[in-house]
Amino acid sequence: MTVSVQEADFAVGAEIEALGAGTDNAGAVASFVGMVRGGEILAMTLEHYPGMTEKALAEIVAEARRRWALLGVRVIHRVGRLLPGERIVFVAVSSTHRHNAFAACEFIMDYLKTQAPFWKREDTASGGRWVDARESDDAALARWRGA
């Protein structure tokens, strides 16, 4: 299984080890973990579009595989209510060499943030608010266009 959208937390170590299992060709595994920032945020609720979200993530992974020689890819995105410090998203990529693994991991995150249907709602002491999309995320995506 490459892509999961779930309420449950996940074990980072076990996921990374699973990517390297069954092969001795993986010279590199790069991973990213996104977490809920604290500060004024009391909790965060993530909404998704069941069916489309999984499809969009699978398409992003397929595009990464077209661009780089990858061995394994794992994407997990949580939905529902999360507290500061909790994990939101996990991306890990294994490859024969580190450059492909680093690049593909960052590519998947940049595409996920701008192309996969998830929406964040923040709860603060003064009430709830939907998070606005950030132009810096679009700029991060633009780096990969034409690359």
Binding site: Y49, M52, F118, D132, A133
Partner: protein
């Protein structure tokens, strides 16, 4: 023709519904025409026409507002995505 229309996130809250089945009159055959058809009901639906950066998907794929809408399609309207 009949289409299923879904709303997400802030739009879902503002419209107080996550979706509906709509029978479209002849001539409403694009996402833009569907949006305008729903918005013409008045408030709160008129927000669909006012929402800045409104995004849409047809049958689980991101689409432009000029995309065709056919009988049985699932069309979703939502704000820009903010996952990750």
């Amino acid at each position: 023709m009949m289409v299923k229309v879904l709303y997400f996130a802030g739009l879902r809250e503002a419209l107080a519904t996550s979706g509906e089945e709509i029978r479209l009159p002849a001539g409403v055959a694009s996402v833009a025409a569907l949006r305008d058809h729903v918005a013409a009901r008045g408030e709160p639906w008129a927000q669909l026409a006012r929402t800045r950066n409104l995004r849409c998907a047809v049958n689980h794929a991101m689409a432009g507002f000029d995309a065709a809408v056919r009988d049985g399609d699932e069309v979703a309207f939502f704000p820009p995505v903010t996952g990750g």
